[in-house]
Subunit: 520 residues, 2 copies
């Protein structure tokens, strides 16, 4: 058994059954091993940002890691933006990067690069396997790290792949149990619960399942505390049967006012809330100075145990959690608007759909409109690096082939990793992509005003940097060029017709929604 | 004057007149400054790999650096592959990466990342400017570094941009003179010239102009030494009036046989020749063990002085260099083949065209077929990171608006940074893009066989990783979706008609050449 074969077998034995790939010459023995060792589903992507984003989306839904296969430093470079998003969302990936043979690196051939240096800023674990003998053990440790929500980058020299002295597959090491909350911190938090609405329990950086949401609601019902989701959620359940939960807004001023009257904030999974960006004259920290922060459990700690102890201390364990009814919004026919699209989106959202949300501005109403839609899961961009939506939809659809994936994307965002459409077509994934085509970086127009630069009014050069309308992107042709059937909606009625059909049939479809003149 | 304005003014004063951009919120004061300080040409790209590749192509033709503008760690991540190519080609870039305000970084907001850590593997110079007061001085140093062919990454915190305590623009520091070759090394190299064909002068990693090529030829004529170009050239003159020069082949076995009988190799600009990749049983070093290597001048040293001293020692200063005539190849009508496309390409290549070459396999004949074409310049991918061609064509066309740019690209390569087509359309650049559509990673099929993995025969999983045919990419639609007029050639006659028209008219055009069945 050569190194590559023992690597693939170790992955499979460790439950890593999908490999998103964009290989090169130094990875050919790995590619060969994908046939020698049966069982790995290989999904080719035409760009490495699709690879890493797909691995992220897969792990969020499968609740176990996928593997990547990238080609040396530049291949890793292309994957970095979506590795960043995964890392910020505490999503595990076995990130495999091919390298030259160990003895070849010193010659500084054209593709030689400091791969470890590139990997470290986006990985919690980095190792270069030095031989076929070490490779399966290193692989097993990478799988263990990825299972606990870390980016584990395993660098794979070509001679470690082709070397024939591998001991064969190695079992995955046991992980330490997730840490429990510190007892003193917990006691202080329990005391804070009695302050009712002056206390907030904020959860983020993890999957907020229906069970976790129910526990949050028991605290709200029993103590009157506020319970809230972080602004950008790795994964959160939604729709019918969920309790009501606040969501922290994106814009700092709004978030500051949300936190204004709080005296205590109890954090589960997430860090103390800070502004997404810095602005002149606006505080980075969003809570008031006197607000006491209880950081009970990080994303890898035992959140369920902490929730149980809080609920139990509140005497709320037997409380029946509140549950929103299934009351999807009415359709709003006529002209296109952010409301009419959001209403139709939520109206037809099928049960158990997975929503992948990268609709930066024009789709912002989709989330609140779906509050009483059929039950679903929602994934958001956790690291702020756009170009995540289409790739994450690829991964979610591979993880859950029986569920409809609806991908909400801005036109600007979609262009970063538009190559993901090809993989959706090739794998015949059940994804409906909605492109909110406003032909601008609309968020940057808003941010330009907010930063106060040049009095908030872009000059001609700046305006050119924010507008995408010249030439107009045509997503019907872009999608068609990659084998995806696409339609264009210029009215709400057209959107309703196209979207209702897309979500009630199976397979890839893209709808370009012309939002250009809908903001008035 | 705020920091951003002093930055832009320092760039302009330093001759950096073009900024390829993909900005975000933290860069809004920079974007605003582009209107407050007039004179910067701003070119928006929809993906950062286009930004960095365009800055590379620009600098190779303009012989001075452009600037980038990237958005935090993920924006830099997306630019890394083409920064790698530029670095390996010794091409200078003022690589500007926006960051959070200095005081905001410690809060680890979603977009916070170790930007310096990501930058170092692809930059020779990295600095985070700590304030508006420091920014213009840091900018001036970045320009100086980029001028001598280095990647200078200047990290720009938002508060250094918006701060109002800038001293204003700062002059660019003087560079030390390029180093001269060591006299002892030079004497040894001069002695080796007398060995005739057992000695080779190899140049690479720099611009090989007509003047440098002429000097090489004087050595060949006077001493009978072999004179050669490295396999992947930053920029090399070609066509009418050039002397004949060998070019080192890509495949290691072929390169080893090219170097077989050498006893001395004199290096100008480039490193000792090594195999692009490692293969089991094939040497990494391409020259024989007994071959003596004379590494006279690195890419930033005084190559012209060294050449002059060699020529003078050979008594060849007065020799008239040989000069290839203008004899473009005859057309080969009928079916498409690598030969018929290469012949037509060279036949119609207009005088002073710039060829940007990322045609990995199907376009390999274009270079030898153009040997006696009209005079032109040729740029190659110097770091092996594909996705360079279309962006580099953007940059070359911005640098030389009066010259036709012909971009040769594989279909697989083109997909990495296909967003560059939009910038070609927006800026109405005079670029003809030729896509060699063979619907596969053909180089990987060859490499799979060469590595000997699985006996050289891909199994079903591996074959899926190497083929792009399902679904077929349609570059007519992809180009149309980004505002580029495109045509498809299925016969040599169609290619001849479409290409001859494209290169005799001005403006963007793409030709998809269907190479699928042409390899027999």
């Amino acid at each position: 058994m050569n190194g590559a074969e023992s690597l693939v077998q170790t992955l499979l034995d460790g439950g890593v059954e999908v490999c998103f790939t964009n290989p090169g010459t130094s990875e050919m023995h790995f590619v060969a091993a994908l046939d020698e060792v049966p069982g790995m589903r290989c999904v080719l992507c035409l760009f490495e940002g699709v690879v890493s984003g797909a691995a992220d989306g897969y792990a969020r839904m499968a609740e176990k890691p996928a593997s990547t296969l990238l080609h040396l430093g530049p291949g890793l470079g292309n994957a970095i933006a979506n590795l960043h998003n995964a890392r910020k969302g505490n999503v595990g990936i076995v990130n495999i990067v091919g390298d030259h043979a160990t003895y070849h690196v010193k010659y500084d051939a054209p593709l030689t690069a400091d791969i470890e240096g590139l990997a470290r800023p986006v990985s919690q674990w980095v190792r270069t396997s030095q031989s076929a003998a070490e490779l399966p053990g290193d692989t097993a440790e990478a799988v263990a790290q990825a299972r606990r929500g870390q980016i584990a980058t395993l660098i794979l020299p070509a001679d470690a792949s082709w070397g024939n002295d591998s001991p064969g597959a190695v079992g995955i090491p046991e992980l330490p149990e997730p840490a429990l909350a510190d007892e003193e911190d917990l006691a202080a938090a329990i005391a804070a619960l009695s302050l009712g609405a002056k206390c907030m329990v904020l959860i983020g950086g993890v999957h907020v399942s229906r069970e976790r949401a129910a526990q949050m609601d028991r605290l709200a019902q029993s103590c009157g505390v506020r319970v809230a989701l972080d602004g950008f959620m790795t994964r959160v359940a939604g729709g019918e049967g969920m309790p009501p939960l606040e969501r922290i807004p994106y814009f700092a001023e709004k978030a500051i006012s949300v936190f204004e009257n709080l005296e205590h904030i109890i954090l589960l999974g997430c860090k103390p809330p800070v502004s997404f960006f810095a602005y002149p004259g606006i505080s980075s920290v969003l809570t008031q100075e006197h607000c006491q922060v209880h950081r009970l459990t990080g994303p890898w700690d035992d959140i369920d145990d902490t929730l149980e102890k809080l609920v139990s201390a509140a005497g709320a364990a037997e409380l029946v959690p509140r549950s929103l009814p299934c009351e999807p919004p009415e359709l709003i026919p006529g002209a296109l608007s952010e409301k009419s699209v959001a209403a139709a989106f939520a109206h037809y959202l099928p049960a158990d759909a997975i929503v992948v949300d990268e609709a930066v501005t024009s789709g912002a109403l989709c989330y609140p409109f779906a509050e009483r839609a059929r039950r679903h899961d929602w994934m958001m961009e956790t690291g702020g690096a756009i170009g995540w939506g289409i790739p994450a939809a690829v991964g979610a659809a591979v993880a859950c082939p029986e569920r409809k994936v609806v991908c909400l994307s801005g036109d600007g965002s979609a262009m970063y990793t538009v190559q993901g459409l090809w993989t959706i077509a090739r794998e015949a994934l059940d994804v409906t992509v909605i492109i909110f085509a406003n032909q601008r970086y609309a968020i940057l127009e808003i941010e330009f005003a907010r930063t106060g630069a040049r009095g908030g009014i872009p000059g001609p050069n700046a305006a050119q940097m924010l507008h995408l309308g010249n030439p107009e992107l045509d997503f019907l042709q872009l999608a068609g060029g990659m084998g995806i059937h696409a339609t264009r909606a210029e009215t709400a009625d057209q959107f309703i017709e196209q979207y209702s059909k897309a979500v009630t049939t199976t397979g890839p479809h893209l709808i370009e929604v012309m939002m250009l003149d809908t903001r008035a």
